[in-house]
Symmetry: C2
Subunit: 178 residues, 2 copies
């Protein structure tokens, strides 16, 4: 397969990618919204910035801009089914945390909780946004991190015998990093 | 492990990540430079944008800004040793393509070649750069893609039985996505 690409072809060539569950407060409803995001990356070491790409039409984008913060949460492959259901629901219509029975951990530095089940979670403060094509890059400064004991070795490298990260391939297909 | 993070701790929590080999022309020397980059992400579907994060102090950053283009190349896990050596060499001092015996494929749309061994390669035209902390996000518009026959199915999803992507965990540790 070779040639100029269309936007559909473009999407899955860049996978597998870590599934990053973004949590953000919905202040009007008094709930927390969660959404799986795959277009994410570290952006800077010092200060530590992490970026997530969201369509400006999404509820999650609206909530991140409203509250000025979000958390990122990485899950084991065992949570695949929950993540798949999360991706089909809209936080505009339902309380996903309640529907999916997600347990939250209170924040330590900012105001947004993390997912208790995450082997790694970080609280991020929104610093910049850049409109790039049909998405917005939301740049968060990492203010606090939480790791599950044993998930990372003393050098901060993931121990895949202890945590098997959920990776997305596209079109409902996943991989377990191990 | 819990607490405010330092920049060292921050780095490897966000892995595993696909290894993206960036190729760019060094016009002054008449060669092509190659460098493995792990902080990368798709940024937009329409137009198709792909972003790579590089320190502004690097030779690769200088060359991308000079030529206004780059290619991205994803390799099978079998190329791990070559990628490790690539990461220890500087294109300021040596011709990495010659030293590592890398075969290049001529470009189809722009002026920068791709790696013949890549199961997926794309030619990107630099559209924007954003300074974010200690890195620069270089935003390329994907102008042409090339995939190895059989690597992706008809929906554009990677067939991990045909291509086993090289994923980086940090500190010299890798995974094969399969």
């Amino acid at each position: 397969m070779e040639g100029a690409l269309n936007s559909v072809e473009a999407v899955y060539f860049y996978y597998p990618r870590l599934v990053c569950v973004v949590a953000v407060r919905d202040v009007a409803k008094g709930v927390v919204n969660v959404a799986p995001v795959t277009w994410t990356s570290p952006l800077s070491s010092d200060p530590p910035y992490y970026g997530i790409c969201l369509s400006p039409t999404t509820h999650t984008h609206h909530l991140v801009v409203s509250t000025g913060e979000f958390t990122i949460n990485f899950l084991d492959a065992a949570h695949r089914e929950m993540v798949e259901r999360m991706g089909t629901l809209s936080g505009r219509e339902v309380n996903k945390v309640a529907m999916l029975g997600i347990e939250l951990t209170p924040p330590a530095a900012l105001g947004t909780p993390t997912l208790a089940a995450a082997y790694f979670a970080a609280e991020c403060s929104l610093q910049e946004r850049h409109h790039l094509g049909d998405q917005t890059l939301l740049v968060g400064e990492v203010m606090h991190t939480r790791t599950r004991p044993g998930a990372f070795n003393e050098e901060g490298v993931l121990d895949v015998a202890s945590a098997s990260p959920l990776l997305y391939l596209g079109r409902g297909r996943y991989l377990a990093g191990r």
